[in-house]
């Protein structure tokens, strides 16, 4: 571990905020997710005093008036409509064995997206919605889908849609492994990598609302609430997995495989610090 990487300036700033907001934190290296989440939100609401907390889930559209108008126009008949319909159809269609996706999830899979990812204490790992969907398929004798788009995007689009407006409710159980997964995800988020030497935070904490080349950067707060997204840049849908891997490629790093531990943990961290913000997916993005 290179200390210079861990102590990126933003990480320090946030850490300072976290400690300020959490008088109960005793040791300098104590992990306090609740204080993290509070400081994370405070950072963004201080930086963008005009943006309402729940509007951060609209990504770059919450940051720029011109973009906001184009988004409103698109939302009249959103480009994710076809994917959403496909997802709904797939979700209700039984597998060859007669069971269906609903049988793998609490409440038949309806209105539960805000609880993912969760920490599975039996397995000792973070379980994302995409992972749970493919495990559901495999448990029922069906081949898994690609994690990045198409069917997986359609299924998660439908599940997000049934949870729209419900606040992210990610839990960290009293299990040191859960805390370690969270901490690992946080570390991943603030660690610089790739030839451009960017961390996730370089763009999405330090510079949201600013342009990187032609695109307006989305704030990290609420960024996963809108998943999956139809990106005009992709001319199609993409999942959280697609977002992580393509971000890593764009900074000229080598992406992990979708649903590798690092991505699961960073999704856990990023979702937790957005707790309380509403699910807005499926979303549309430039």
């Amino acid at each position: 571990m290179r200390p210079a990487i861990r102590f990126a300036s933003i990480g320090l700033a946030l850490a300072a905020l976290a400690y300020a907001a959490a008088p109960s934190a005793t040791a300098a290296d104590a992990v306090d997710p609740v204080a993290d989440a509070k400081a994370f939100k405070k950072y963004f609401t201080d930086k963008f005093p005009k943006v309402k907390l729940e509007d951060f889930v609209n990504g770059p559209y919450s940051m720029d008036e011109g973009l906001h108008q184009q988004w409103q126009e698109k939302e009249q008949f959103p480009p994710y409509e076809f994917s959403l319909e496909l997802g709904k159809e797939m979700f209700s269609k039984p597998f060859k064995n007669g069971k269906s996706y609903g049988d793998c999830f609490p409440n038949k899979g309806i209105g539960i997206r805000q609880n993912y990812p969760y920490f599975d204490e039996k397995e000792g790992k973070v379980i994302t919605l995409e992972l749970a969907l493919n495990r559901c398929r495999e448990a029922n004798g069906e081949p898994p889908f690609s994690y990045v788009k198409d069917e997986m995007a359609a299924l998660t689009a439908y599940m997000a849609f049934t949870s729209r407006g419900k606040p992210f409710d990610i839990k960290i159980p009293n299990d040191p492994r859960a805390l370690a997964a969270y901490e690992n995800g946080k570390e991943y988020f603030y660690t610089r990598r790739g030839q451009l030497n960017f961390s996730c935070a370089t763009c999405h904490v330090q510079s949201p609302g600013e342009r990187i080349r032609a695109e307006v950067l989305a704030p990290a707060l609420g960024i996963l609430n809108a998943m999956p997204i139809y990106r005009s840049e992709w001319s199609g849908m993409g999942t959280t997995s697609r977002r992580f891997t393509s971000c890593n490629s764009q900074i000229r790093g080598v992406p992990f495989s979708p649903q590798d531990d690092e991505y699961r943990n960073v999704e856990y961290y990023l979702s937790f610090v957005s707790n309380g913000l509403p699910i807005s997916g499926p979303g549309a993005r430039p």
Binding site: Q70, E73, K74, E215, E233
Partner: protein, 163 residues
């Protein structure tokens, strides 16, 4: 071509029925007699869509040139979020509007869309278009047999022709 094309005279489109022989009203000086590209209906103005220049496309489409009008309201973003999907809306206070067309001067082919507005349909259209690069978006409105236009520059930072 009558100046007052009130739309009731417009041929009914019969795309899926394959019935031929309707007149080609409303299409200006497009050559008559050419074989229809598909099932018989209003002929698709293939040549107009192949033109590089917006002036040529407008001429082929309507057989005349357009004059500037401030009675056309063009809603387009200052900066397109992505050239692949640029929302553009148009409405007009001109009377007897029979057609509205959208062109992008800097696209490889300027003409993007040409709409026919029968009588009883509002002179107002919204659609999403591709823009290869920063360009003037030109809107042409045919009203009372005359042609009017307006334009607005839309900046494109991510082109819509790169995939």
């Amino acid at each position: 071509m009558t100046g007052k094309n009130n739309g009731f005279a417009l041929p009914r489109r019969v795309i899926l029925q394959g019935v031929a022989s309707v007149a080609l009203l409303g299409l200006g000086k497009i050559a008559f007699g050419a074989a229809p590209a598909f099932a018989a209906n209003d002929k698709y103005p293939d040549e107009a869509f192949k033109q590089k220049s917006s002036d040529d496309a407008i001429k082929l489409l309507y057989g005349k040139t357009a004059e500037k009008s401030d009675k056309i309201k063009l809603d387009a973003p200052e900066i397109a979020e992505n050239g692949a999907v640029v929302p553009i809306a148009v409405s007009s206070t001109l009377s007897d509007v029979t057609a509205i067309a959208f062109l992008v001067a800097e696209n490889p082919n300027a003409l993007v869309a040409a709409y026919k507005i029968p009588a009883g349909t509002m002179p107002s259209v919204a659609n999403r278009i591709k823009m290869a690069r920063t360009s003037n978006v030109i809107v042409v409105v045919e009203a009372g047999g005359k042609l009017y236009s307006t334009s607005k520059e839309v900046k494109v930072t991510v082109g819509g022709c790169g995939g």
